[in-house]
Amino acid sequence: MPKDEPVTILLVEDDPAHAEIVRRSLKNFRVANRIAHVKDGQAALDYLFRKGEYSNPETSPRPAIILLDLRLPKVDGLEVLRLIKEDAELIKIPALVLTTSAAESDVDIAYAHGAVSYLVKPVDARQFAGLMEAFCLYGRDQTGSWPKGQAAGIKD
């Protein structure tokens, strides 16, 4: 993958406000990337398995990283994680859980279903920003191609 090519982040988040926070945070750290935002588990699966409106690889490219909420309408986050894990191709994409629940059982079960990291949404703007920065560093580490310093090309 060329160094300057923007990578795609798949954000699965049903709360529009939270999606907005993630979007702004990533913008703040000026990482050049595209965010593909879907609002429920079913849409996330459709996107990943290229079904329905997401069948065109041009407009719906393979994400480099997945940011997933656990409590989602239609199909919940754990089910999405499980189906990703079952697919030989998709399992290569690191899936991070970003959710409000700090319940231990959720953390355990998310890791058991193949999440690479579990992020709890902090009830504080500054902490949220810090978390997103850590996420960016992680993403750069993983993909090696998150060019900094450019305005991100964000797509919804």
Partner: protein, 544 residues
């Protein structure tokens, strides 16, 4: 002194009979008796006499009349003496005197009195001597030796008779005591048995005893009732006579295990009895030992724990609900809080930079989140109230409830231009009127919300009476529900579409109310775009 038993008495009796026959034979078929023959007869007569004595003094536990015996003895000896005299012409006087000595000594007299007997016998003998013809010398040796002999025989037989009487008394006492003891033991055993049976049959649990081969030794009435057999009929039978083979084999294995390990075993299992009704049983099996410490079988007690199981299940359901409730609260209530705090941070930056446009946008996010939170709290409070029975249950006609619920939901229905139709027969509901109204209102709201792009939206509601109980329904021709999500929609805060208004509590609330009224609710839909039908039942709803 040895106590002769009845068998020995019979032996002596038959022995005596043989001697008697030989004696008769000699006397009848030897008309000219020579000196050596007479000696043989003398000996036989002596043995006969001794056998008579032995018979006389054999102690028996059973009381026999001594008078009867002595009279028999008297006749016996008189007959023999007479017979010898008639056939041989011999004088058997001496034997008669012996007889008198023995007879009198046996009459329960003391040792002192036995001297009197000896004297009487001596006098009798002297009288016989005086009448003897020809008379022998007075001072012959035989006579002089016989006189003291009478005293010896009489005192000895008295002593002997006393001993025998004592033994006899003891024997009789023993027999009486034994009989008394036996009766007491039987009485005691019967008391114990009746007490144990009273417990055994009156405990509500099933109970049984089995031997080492798992055959029933004792079975109580509840057990018999459960199997539909009379307890007495089960004696000696095994589990394979009652239960299907795999089950019987398992029980036998359990028995073996308990007997081998010597440890109590407890099993909980569902089982159908005679009435084919499935129930949960808790069975406890314990090994039982005889007084030598050897395993002699097992004792089993089985208890119907269906009620407990049901409560456990109910508790589990409640617990699950509570868990999902607290989970939902922690997640869904926290969600708007995250939004509010984060956007407050953005707002602070906007204020520093004096960015009024940005601030307005951020405030809008905060307001939306705060509104959502207040709505959630209100509905959660509502939901928690369902469990508590606040209003008394009343009877009400279904049609009135439907009409009122439609009026309450009229806002949503009319703004979307939805037609409504109420069908079905007259049914009376029984419950909390306010709550049942909420059920219908929520279902109407839900139907109105998910109409989608339907050009001729229609909501139908009513009741179907074709089944065993009335089934209520609210049907729409809206967007429908994918079959995969049909169970999920009744969960707390579950929303299939994030974009729709509401908190995801409406259907959860409806389900809770219906379950509190002893009913259940489910959704049916042929798929997306084909409309949805919510159906539910209510306990105590009746036609008319």
């Amino acid at each position: 002194m040895k106590i002769l038993t009845l068998d020995e008495k019979l032996t002596i009796l038959s022995f005596r009979g043989i001697i008697f026959l030989i004696l008769c034979f000699f006397l009848l078929y030897s008309p000219v008796m020579e000196a050596k023959f007479s000696f043989t007869i003398f000996n036989l007569l002596n043995i006969y006499l001794l056998s008579n004595m032995a018979l006389w003094w054999i102690p028996t536990p059973k009381f026999t009349n001594p008078r009867l015996l002595t009279v028999l003895f008297l006749f016996d000896m008189a007959f023999i003496s007479w017979f010898i005299y008639v056939t041989q012409g011999w004088n058997t006087d001496l034997y008669l005197v012996y007889f008198v000595v023995i007879f009198m000594s046996g009459m329960q007299i003391s040792i002192q009195q036995s001297f009197l007997v000896g004297t009487v016998a001596s006098l009798l003998y002297l009288a016989l001597w005086a009448n003897m013809n020809p008379r022998s010398d007075f001072l012959n040796t035989a006579l002089l030796l016989r006189l003291p002999f009478f005293y010896i025989v009489s005192s000895f037989t008295v002593f002997f008779a006393q001993q025998v009487r004592e033994r006899e008394r003891l024997l009789r006492q023993f027999a009486l005591d034994a009989d008394k003891m036996r009766k007491q033991m039987i009485n005691k055993l019967e008391t114990i048995q009746s007490r144990q049976e009273a417990i055994f049959n009156n405990i509500p649990d099933m109970a049984w005893l089995k031997d080492k081969e798992s055959r029933f030794i004792a079975v109580n009435e509840p057990f018999g009732k459960f199997c539909g057999v009379c307890p007495a009929e089960l004696m000696g039978k095994t589990d394979s006579d009652i239960w299907p083979r795999p089950l019987a084999e398992r029980y036998r294995a359990d028995d073996r295990e308990v007997m081998q390990s010597g440890k109590r075993k407890c099993v909980e299992e569902p089982l159908a009895g005679k009435d084919k009704k499935m129930c949960w049983l808790e069975t406890i099996k314990t090994p039982i030992y005889n007084n030598l410490g050897e395993v002699m079988g097992t004792v089993g007690i089985a208890r119907d724990i269906t009620g407990r199981k049901r409560n456990e299940l109910e508790l589990q359901e409640r617990n699950d609900e509570l868990t999902s409730f607290s989970y939902a609260v922690s997640h869904d209530l926290k969600s708007p809080l995250v939004t509010i705090t984060t956007f407050l941070g953005y707002l602070e930056e906007d204020l520093k930079e004096r960015n009024t446009d940005g601030a307005a946008g951020n405030i809008a996010y905060i307001r939306t989140a705060a509104d959502k939170m207040s709505r959630l709290l209100k509905e959660l409070l509502e939901l928690s109230r369902v469990g508590q029975k606040t209003a008394p249950y009343v009877e009400m006609p279904l049609s009135a409830v439907l009409e009122e619920a439609l009026a309450l939901a009229a806002g949503h229905i009319s703004e979307r231009g939805i037609k409504t139709r109420i069908t079905g027969e007259t049914v009376t509901l029984f419950g909390d009127r306010q709550r049942l109204l909420e059920v219908f209102q929520n279902l109407f709201d839900n139907a109105a919300k998910f109409m989608g792009g339907q050009p001729a939206p229609l909501i139908e509601a009513g009741v179907e009476l074709s089944g065993a109980e009335p089934v209520f329904f609210v049907r729409d021709n809206g967007i429908g529900i994918d079959s995969r999500h049909q169970a999920k929609i009744f969960g707390l805060f579950e929303k299939l579409d994030a974009a729709t208004e509401g908190t995801g509590l409406g259907l959860a609330l409806a389900r809770r109310i219906i379950e509190a009224h002893g009913g259940r609710i489910w959704a049916e839909s042929e798929g997306p775009g084909k409309g949805t039908t919510f159906r539910f039942t209510l306990a105590n709803a009746k036609k008319g």
